[in-house]
């Protein structure tokens, strides 16, 4: 995407749109990515509570995966998972 010049952007670094942080893909900051062993997961959603980047995907009250476009790979989910079913892998 071609970045805008100083005449085309709002002054002062203002962000004039609510919730636009979702558009900012932070996944490529990651060194390690969380990978879950589905069979061991008990869907307690503790990882969802703790994830600082809202990157635990949940559907029908079940943990269904990770939002790798925003997950920064902090490893908190792996650390708090009571079943130790999240591993941090390179990539």
């Amino acid at each position: 995407m071609k970045k805008k010049g100083w005449k085309e952007i709002p002054i002062a670094g203002l962000i004039t749109e609510a919730g636009s942080a979702a558009k900012y893909k932070t996944g490529d900051w990651r060194t390690f990515k969380p990978v879950r062993d589905e069979d061991k997961c008990i869907h307690c959603l503790i990882c969802w509570i703790y994830c600082p980047d809202s990157s635990i995907l949940v559907k029908d009250e079940k943990m269904v995966g990770f939002d790798y476009e925003h997950c920064k790979g902090c490893g908190i989910c792996a650390s708090v998972c009571p079943k130790k079913c999240i591993k941090m892998e390179k990539g």
Binding site: G5, W6, P10, A12, G13, L14, I15, T16, E17
Partner: protein
């Protein structure tokens, strides 16, 4: 109602202008010699003469932070400070200008520690000259009063949106009583108009974020915008002054020339020293000596063209700096003025005087000695030294 002339100190003149402006919010912390401004304003608030929300904070860092929040929320906001107070505001000064928040702040110039000193020099605001604020320097309480009102209009202009420091000399101006011609309240209110923050944090229909992370990809663009805002200030201030002129019958340009047009030698100075210099100019003119003064009123934006035009015909110029920049190459005003004159093919000879540090008095005889030096410089074809210390033992 005729214009009222009131006996006011510089501090009282600032407080009186602020009373007529009646900002929505005033967040401040007392510091000598600014204290009287906020003290007087607090009295106005306690007496019910203004509806301003007063925020007594625990430090100047908090004062400026509260101002930033208040303006972003949509309130017309003011504060005032001096010296260490300005130093403590430092990081928030840059945030205020970067976020393009039109805060108007009277600053009563006072030396910076150490050692601790409460008297006038310009080291506080000179240090802040790159913080992105507009800076106005006032000669006397009258100018303080009018410049503060003018500053509101400049700061809030849609194409400028920058904070403004209105500077006066500590004690010399801030505590000296003079007759100040004041405007009627409604004239002031009408001139400044209502403050409308286009990007209000409290407008829930248009949610927005102030001060997000701004890295390699856009930070530079935002600084470029700030530079443009200062250039816009340069373009628009004369027009704003023209609108103010009918109210005061005074013309406040970026610079003021005093008997300079046919002068051979001249002094360039800021603030109260200009008053002293004018007296010396008059005395020497009586003796037939062609001397003049260039008073710099705005340091930011820097009126380079006006300075070049005013000084181009002089044979020698002395720039008076009431602060030391420890460059071993002269004070801040000297270096900027000298750099501006580089454009000229035929440049006046130049010399710099650092003077008045920590409130050291500068009298008529010292200013006279500078003019005498200037005539010697013309005779000899150059100054003995680039930088001189006036009045030091």
């Amino acid at each position: 109602m005729a214009k009222k002339i009131l006996a006011l100190t510089g501090d009282q003149a600032a407080a009186f202008a602020m009373k007529q402006i009646e900002p929505d919010v005033l967040a401040a912390y007392p510091i000598t010699p600014q204290t009287e401004i906020v003290m007087n304003y607090s009295q106005y608030a306690a007496d019910g003469l203004v509806r301003t929300e007063m925020i007594p904070v625990e430090s100047e860092h908090s004062a400026m932070s509260a101002c930033v929040g208040a303006v972003a929320a949509g309130a017309r906001t003011m504060t005032a400070t001096s010296s260490q107070g300005l130093a403590l505001m430092w990081e928030i000064l840059y945030i205020a200008s970067s976020l393009r928040l039109p805060i108007v702040m009277p600053v009563v110039n006072r030396a910076l520690s150490g050692n601790i000193n409460i008297h006038c020099d310009h080291s506080d605001t000179m240090g802040a000259r790159d913080s992105g604020w507009i800076q106005v320097y006032c000669e006397n309480p009258q100018e303080v009063y009018e410049s503060i009102i003018l500053a509101i209009k400049i700061a809030e202009d849609k194409e400028i949106l920058l904070p403004v420091m209105v500077c006066q000399d500590g004690f010399i101006t801030s505590h000296g009583v003079e007759g100040v011609e004041t405007l009627e309240d409604d004239k002031v209110k009408e001139f400044i108009g209502e403050y409308k923050q286009e990007f209000s944090l409290l407008n829930v229909d248009k949610p927005l974020t102030y001060g997000p992370l701004d890295l390699q990809d856009y930070y530079f663009e935002h600084k470029r915008q700030q530079a443009e805002a200062m250039a816009n200030a340069k373009k628009k201030i004369p027009g704003i002054i023209s609108k103010f002129e009918p109210l005061t019958n005074k013309r406040y340009d970026f610079i003021e020339k005093y008997r300079l047009d046919d002068a051979e030698v001249g002094i360039l100075a800021l603030s109260s020293t200009c008053g002293t210099t004018k007296v010396v100019v008059d005395e020497l003119r009586k003796e037939g000596k062609k001397v003049g003064l260039l008073k710099l009123r705005f340091l930011r934006p820097f009126p380079a063209e006006e300075i070049i035009q005013a000084l181009s015909k002089l044979k020698a110029v002395a720039v008076l700096d009431r602060s030391e920049s420890f460059a071993d190459h002269g004070g801040p005003v000297f270096n900027e003025v000298r750099s501006a004159l580089y454009e000229l093919n035929k440049k006046p000879l130049m010399t710099n005087y650092i003077y008045g540090l920590g409130g050291r008095d500068v009298g008529l005889s010292q200013i006279k000695s500078v003019f005498e030096d200037l005539f010697k410089i013309v005779e000899k074809g150059g100054p003995k030294s680039l930088v001189n210390y006036l009045g030091v033992r």
